[in-house]
């Protein structure tokens, strides 16, 4: 299992971590350590307070094996033991605790994209903008140099379409909706759940983390513009 993933990692190796050195073999322990560090960092930056946020890493693509945070834990105190290994149907293969209901959203992303890591955050700006643009079903971002921090984007003229799905507590239905939505969007780097937060991903943990940072920056820029007297239509 680990060997297959390593090869796949090497093929995909376009993330930050992969530059200039061979991609590290994604051992569960190492990935749990990386995700724990990210959980504490994101808590400190206000992107996943209280028990909000879930973080996962792909241990194997086919059949799908995912390492994911257990449900209901305070992210400021997460440890490397607070992760589960699950299969593509959400069954627990290893670890204590229970998976979050949102695990199925991670599985939906992992089933549609060649990803190594999926990060879900709840920032103030993602909450505000996902709510304000919910009726349009999307937020489009264009004209910012920072867009080039998203994998494969080469110019600020890129138009990043961020789908917005209505929030729901019936996760399997929502997972289907997202799976269908993502199937038609090959260039998508993330999506928003209305009044809830952001999902983004990357080929490895470092790239996914960078995508959170890039999106949070762009959402803050648009949020301050949008909630600061300047109509967003001026820009787009």
């Amino acid at each position: 299992m680990a060997k297959k993933t390593m090869k796949q990692g090497a093929k995909r190796g376009t993330g930050q971590a992969a530059k200039g050195r061979r991609a590290a073999q994604p051992k569960p322990g190492l990935l749990a350590a990386q995700l724990t560090k990210i959980a504490r960092e994101f808590h400190g930056r206000g992107w996943a307070l209280g028990t909000s946020g879930n973080y996962s890493a792909v241990l194997n693509a086919n059949p799908l094996r995912l390492l994911i945070t257990s449900s209901g834990l305070d992210k400021s105190a997460l440890t490397e033991r607070d992760f589960l290994e699950i299969d593509g149907a959400g069954n627990i293969l290893a670890g204590k605790g229970k998976p979050s209901a949102e695990t199925f959203l991670h599985l939906a992303v992992a089933g549609k994209r060649e990803v190594g890591c999926i990060l879900h955050t709840h920032s103030v700006w993602s909450t505000l903008l996902s709510e304000r643009f919910a009726s349009q079903g999307e937020l489009c971002i264009s004209g910012y140099e920072m867009l080039k921090g998203l994998q494969g984007v080469r110019t600020h003229e890129h138009r990043e379409r961020v789908p917005i799905f209505a929030n729901a507590q019936e996760i399997p239905a929502l997972a289907n909706k997202i799976s269908n939505g993502l199937g038609r969007e090959n260039q998508t780097h993330g999506f928003l759940l209305s009044g809830h937060g952001l999902y983004t991903w990357g080929v490895d943990v470092a790239q996914a983390r960078r995508h959170v940072e890039i999106f949070e920056f762009l959402l803050e820029v648009i949020g301050r513009r949008e909630f600061g007297g300047a109509p967003v239509t001026e820009k787009q």
Copy 2:
């Protein structure tokens, strides 16, 4: 006394700290250490600057015994020795210093709710929103996933009613008003004092701390929406 509280803690044990392990016996020294850590953290996050903020933990429910911060201390430099043990009438049982006048608000909450910890903060957003919505006597929050961080809330469709009481310096009268107000609100997780700040609580210190974090997040979201050109009535 400690034994009773432990049992009670076990019965109530739905807070973060209680998950996956037996609730720790609430020894005054340990609670003072936890509250001191919180005081410094909240100061660093701008939620209780200068001498503002009071923090308490229930040592015994019946008869009521409360551990509470002494009055007038700078919260950035609080130590574990800056706490008092008081009874349900506010008499000092142990510790140096004098209790804050607001001690009676803590007693009012502890007398009405099954709580292990009560935290009072003064953030910018709680100040702004408590002032703006004072004439309505409440702030209602609905539609945000983050609401699920409040104990017992299962859906973002939950409507959290946060009562707002007019600020006053005659604390006993205010305490009566709050006690009566809370008596009619079984689902309330906190309240605001106009132009002053937030009171929230939990079954233990970890849950109360998480409630502060959840409320501060929600107040920032609503504050940025409300002070950013979008009418709050659109949402509610």
Copy 3:
């Protein structure tokens, strides 16, 4: 000299530092260490970036002896050796470097008030509000519990009048203006220079630091209200 100051400190001892223990003798070395710590803290909080900000402590009241930061130093890298001892006319008694032109504003305050420490900061909100209210010559703050963090204030109904002086590079004339202005304001805890920043003070370093924190909080509250679509006239 040190002895006199100690007695005076004991008489005045209503600051945070004086509570629960005898006021420490204000030795220059200790005061320089305290002010250095504050300089780094305030830089980290964005209240005195670059070379902005000056900090002083009274070594002796009569004749006046002031310990004050040298001019033109980056406050993120201030050390305990970057202070001067000056007399009431601004002459250097000890230390290397040259005094800032604004030293005369510190002397104006120290000559009019019973103070042990004077702190001058340049935050975003003090800059914005001092500019917006410059034509009124004052900013009045009322209705906030946090006002009680200012020495001697007992109720949120207190009306704190913060004088605003036009900024100027001819410091002696400005110092006269401030000296005259403060002479008529016994209850003033600080003043603003338009487009420039805040001056506040206290009986000792701890109290002055707390006053900065309280003012910065109140200015942020009013700033967000004022620059967020809500007319300030509603409140006052």
Copy 4:
């Protein structure tokens, strides 16, 4: 080479680092260490997230030798080995990795100004204001005491004209435009690229860093004013 630079540094020595001691000889290793520290600091302050930002220091003025960050690295994890030495045409003289396309903008600045260090950041406020004022081709800042933190500015009445260039991915053409623009602006301390960020510089690393801090402060002040209901025309 190092000797020439030291002399030149001594002649120019008006930066913070040069005060009170002889300017340090700009060894590549020391400069890389200083720029690495700045990269991590600026990442932490939100001024250069993800892979954004480039930092350079002049190793020799004539012929031009520049030490500059390699392209595409995450600035939160930059190390002292992530720098290249290049000549005035952008050829690599030492180091691994490839230069960023924006290297030519650094060369354009270094060719026009007597500088020792050039820093490029991407903050929220520089992004927002460079976009809003793009059609005017400049942002003018006047009336703020903090302007005195820019080298050579003696009064808040100074009018700092910050040119704004349209963002472009064809860097050589943009570099020419900037080079021509800077040629006519002897008093300029920095410029903006629309929707992109800030370039500023100084005689040494410390002064350039201070200029970033000063500009970021001023941009936040103007940004909050501009996106907070107050027309910028009131001020200017």
